[in-house]
Symmetry: none
Subunit: 339 residues, 2 copies
């Protein structure tokens, strides 16, 4: 890449680099004629100030890092959209890294972002995240830091979350209100906090409505995919002929369940009612349309950036900063799969 430097402008005009620099910044101790020739030459050479040099001066990179498990994902791509739109408004660029649900990759990416001197980091943890030492270093280095969705409760950063336990409780209560008596739960992997909380919400809703909890009705996903939905649908039918409701960790898996039931003439909602989680776009276009929990993904991204910005401003001004947690509301969307 061709780099036009202050030095080249200075040499061409036969003046000092300092004078060129002052002229470009509009300092009053450079005479008008010199200033104009510097500006004209800079313009004709398409000179742009080197951002590395600017960064050294201001110690800001105006760049933040975002680490998420998966880009091709309705929920996460909406969060990304929220973050980059809010960052754009405030003059920040966003480096996006995908952990692919791998703890090793996640650790490496955080190292990279720290070495890159980003101004702040936003993260949603991989399913494998199981110790917090590599997250604690972000806090220890006083790098502005926000967690969202899949978080570690132990790390004292700002957070944007929903109340997963309450949202799951409402989803299961919706099935009970519709007459379900034997409700299976296709849950997320064992590790992530939000999968644990949704499971706890499921369990509590059963208990509060005098339905005995039966652990054989709980099916944990490994990869949280469409294919797993199809497999679990078959297993639930084989294991428990009388299941009449299923609460599924996320819409993508629920759509797999529906696909299997459609292929095998299991009537939804007549025989089995299904409710998903996250309100993926496709849930409203499949047959039958899928009931789900609406999760404000775009807003989650916006709020995550806003919290990060608060902390970046505070750190820059050496002001005290206390991490905050924002909890966003969810709601039940009733569609054909639970009529």
């Amino acid at each position: 890449m061709k780099e036009i430097t202050l030095k080249q402008i200075a040499e061409t005009l036969g003046i000092s680099v300092t004078t060129v620099s002052k002229a470009l910044k509009g300092y009053s101790d450079v005479n008008e004629k010199t200033r104009q020739s510097v500006l004209d030459l800079a313009s004709s050479l398409q000179y742009t100030p080197n951002s590395f040099a600017v960064n050294l001066r201001t110690k800001e990179s105006k760049t933040i890092g975002l680490v998420i498990p998966e880009v091709v994902h309705h929920f996460f791509s909406n969060v990304i959209k929220g973050i980059i739109e809010e960052a754009e408004k405030n003059g920040y660029l966003v480096i996006i890294l995908q952990s692919n649900e791998s703890l090793e990759l996640e650790k490496k990416q955080i190292e990279l972002l720290i070495n890159k001197r980003v101004d702040g980091i936003i993260i949603s943890l991989s399913n494998d995240a199981n110790n917090e030492i590599y997250l604690q270093q972000i806090i220890d280095r006083e790098i502005p830091f926000v967690q969202f969705d899949k978080i570690s409760k132990l790390i004292p950063s700002s957070k944007v979350i929903i109340n997963d336990q309450k949202a799951a409780y409402q989803a299961v209560k919706h099935l009970i209100d519709k007459g379900c008596k034997k409700i299976a739960h296709i849950r997320g992997p064992i590790n992530p906090q939000n999968a644990i909380d949704r499971f706890l919400g499921y369990k509590k809703a059963l208990e509060d409505h005098n339905i005995t909890f039966d652990s054989s009705l709980v099916y944990p996903c490994k990869h949280v995919t469409f294919e797993e939905g199809k497999e679990f649908a078959a297993r639930i039918l084989a294991d428990h002929k009388d299941v009449d409701g299923i609460f599924v960790i996320t819409d993508m898996v629920a759509v797999g369940v529906l696909a299997h039931f459609n292929e095998h003439q299991i009537k939804v909602p007549e025989q089995i009612k299904i409710i998903g989680f996250s309100n993926w776009f496709m849930s409203q276009v499949i047959t039958p349309k899928l009931s789900t929990v609406d999760q404000p993904s775009f807003e989650m991204g916006e709020q995550a950036f806003k919290l990060l910005l608060e902390e970046m401003h505070a750190r820059k001004e050496f002001l005290p900063f206390t991490p905050r947690t924002i909890e966003l509301d969810t709601s039940i969307i009733e569609r054909e799969s639970t009529f």
Copy 2:
């Protein structure tokens, strides 16, 4: 001060730029006599690699910029995945910017990336892109640059594309082979090259099969959305009662068409057959399942990064680089909507 370039040294001595570059670096595969003449000439011309060659290594940001119209989009999110996975393997970070189909934003984002001194830029143009001056500056500054999917043919950068005209031709031929005689086309906006090419493929397929082209059967999208699909479905029914096939610019819009037909008891494929484009995930889970053109989005991302890497390496070593265009294969996926 005039810059002495490797090219001038090479031309003066009648040898290649590569040989000059190697000679200056002391590579052993340049013979001693040639090496000495290069060094002598460089010395007498006061060639100073310092001015732009040295430090280039340390000036590398190991960061590239990606500008795309939309993150929440099955095709683009798969391309992003391909790019960041390939970048990751090669130690590069990816800044992702979303133009939201706005030309103004796109221009601003390119400026930002140039000022940020990214090592290279990958772009898929917004629908509004209509002049190429802001793209030409990337070329003029010799910044490694790859266009994909929505490209400007006039800009001499590397490109990763599909043959949109051929793919559209095959889609329409598929409808004709299935017996369709009056085929509507819901096309993309007027501007983007890929929308133009798909339209031309539609037109040519009709002509080659002795079906008279009728411009009233062509419906241009503004926003390429699910909602537009629903609207055009209603308009096509109102305008042309006897349409028996529709070729739609992309699956998201085609799913809107299907939704309207499902709501109004129009039988697909019996009454009207539909084929989309891009093979979005949801196309295989809706009822009826949507026939479509499979477009290798993940591979497109991988190839785009690989081409960028080639150019970044070449520029770093001051080797000549000729932009290349990679054309990826597409295929027709037949599903229930065209049985």
